[in-house]
Amino acid sequence: MLETTILLLKENQRNLFQKIKGAPILYFFFSAMMIFSVIMFGFLTLFLLRTEYEFSFFDVFFSLFFLFLLKSAADVHNLFIKSSQLSYALSTQVSHQKIIAHVFFSQFLINMGLWFFFSTLYILSIFVLNIAVNYPLEYLFITIGMAIALLVGPVLALFFFSSNRFRLVPSLLLLGFYWYSHEVVYVVCTLPLACLHLFWGIHHGMESFLFVKRKERVKERRTVRSQNILSALATREILTLWRDRLFFSFVFTAITTALFTGYFFLYGADILIPESIRSLAEQYLPSMFVFLGIYIVVIYTAVFPSLNLFLNEEKTMWILHHLPLPKYTIVVGKTLALLLCFITTIPFIAYISIFIGLQQLPFLIWVLMFSFLAGVIISLPLGAKYVGKKSDILLFYAVAMILFIVAGIAASAGKYLTRVTIYWPLFLCSILLVELLFLWLSALLSAKILKSNVLQI
């Protein structure tokens, strides 16, 4: 009875404990940030109530609903669709549907646990802030909504990775109905329909598992020849990014982020800020939107690939370790591949200049370059330290938070320099040069960490 569920829950728990044991400082930092974020939401609630800003209950509900929908879809992808360990359970006499149901149930329990933990923390924080907490019906509705998200999300993941993607249509129609109705009660009433969706998903679940596991022979004919060491290392990274279609995704992100940033730069204050405090926010809000746009692009094109230079090498690191190469050469060779990632950010600059004009462009390019380099400087040693922790979202989150602070301070300081001196281009270039020195130090540190991974006595 529920063997697979119990096993998955145990594995989940042990993985978490092992990660905490392996990187206690990082996890302490992350936990502190999470709790801090929830408490900040409490303060935000207080602030909005004080400014008499009327926020829509449905918007809050739908944001949470969407978050849990994505989380459950990702969990089912990891626990079932992509999982290779599950092959053992699926090869036993137990029916496939039953095992898939067990997997779904485990993700349901994990995510509901998270919901209750964070919602309780939020309620406690607003209780401490003396905000009246007496919305039992609303809480019940949101909880049922979260349960519906956890039932529909897995079905979306299943059919997205299936040969018959048209099966996604009913789920998408259901989501469309939720958005169109704009009523929490209507969403809650569809609980039986969501259950039906889940049964349908479980019934066809095995198709997705088999579809993802199919092996296709991919032929790539390319003139190959010997290269020098650095270019060989960089070329391998570039080939992987290219074949995983990541460069396209970087360019796409840069363009769409620029368009959204530009839109918010022009109209953000009118859309998002209550009229009572709009005049106060109007001075700094457009610059903040541009900074956030740059930050998102840098996170995607610098932090993500530079962390993955080593995080993705879980089982293949033996290749580089057993070759007669200095670790510093390995780090530099891999880092060179990031030059191409930087080129993918150029469309951001091109598109954002349409909205903000050319005058601000040199400073914007500087902020982008600074943030990109800072992202690489922070990510390299952490990636080298945690080689193989492939999808460690916590590590990614920690790097993102550090970068936010560093880039935020630098952008403010840079902006200040442009106001107080006419020689600001000289100062900004000097800062970039200093940053290059830090990049070199970061590469040295990463090499030292890599070396200590294999030659500790």
Binding site: K215, R217, T240, D244, I319, L323, P326, N453, V454
Partner: protein
Amino acid sequence: MITISNLTKRYGKIVALNQVSFTFENSQVIAIMGENGAGKSTLLKICAGILPFNQGEVIIDNYSLTKDSIEARTHIGYLPEMPELYDRLTGREFLFYIASLRKLAKASQIITELTDITGIKDFLDYELGSYSKGMKQKISLISAMMHAPKNLLLDEPVYGLDPPTSRTIQDFIRKRQGTTIIATHSTRLVEQVADVVYILMRGNVVLCDKVQTLLKKYQTIENAYFRCKDLQHA
């Protein structure tokens, strides 16, 4: 030549290798046998420079693995038990990549020769992610041998290979000049190619002898292995 002195490796509280010492002479084929978890793969990983150890010293052709790591690794070729490769590279790209990192002259010629021998030539332009286990094994074997290393470390070299390739590999091991260390469970492979056999149990060397001597005494290496195991239990 590989000299190992008082090597200790611990995984937490478990002692994988307990102060073991070996001298692997030139032009010898040395087989390391032992039950699962005896420390065979650990020993090879340490010699290949991919696993840290707690105590002791490893000298490869007069170079210390800790002090002169790069020079030591220049003289090593290593085939892991389960070769994990870069899935998005083709076989050809991978071999040229290794050749570039090893600064190999005449890489193209060497790769053509070795891929002909192992029968993988027709699959060189396919991505490694689509290779079968045996094909991955062949590609890794080529990458381990392409720079003609003085010391070759092979972890289960014929496991997963088809019989003709397996025979070719055995012939190659027999004919080569340098030191070859094989970690294996296959008593047949040991009988056919090895000069000396070491049996490890729970991180300790419990037997070290010439294969011919053991064959005279026990008829087969399997008999020798079980005799050794019985003595340990007694």
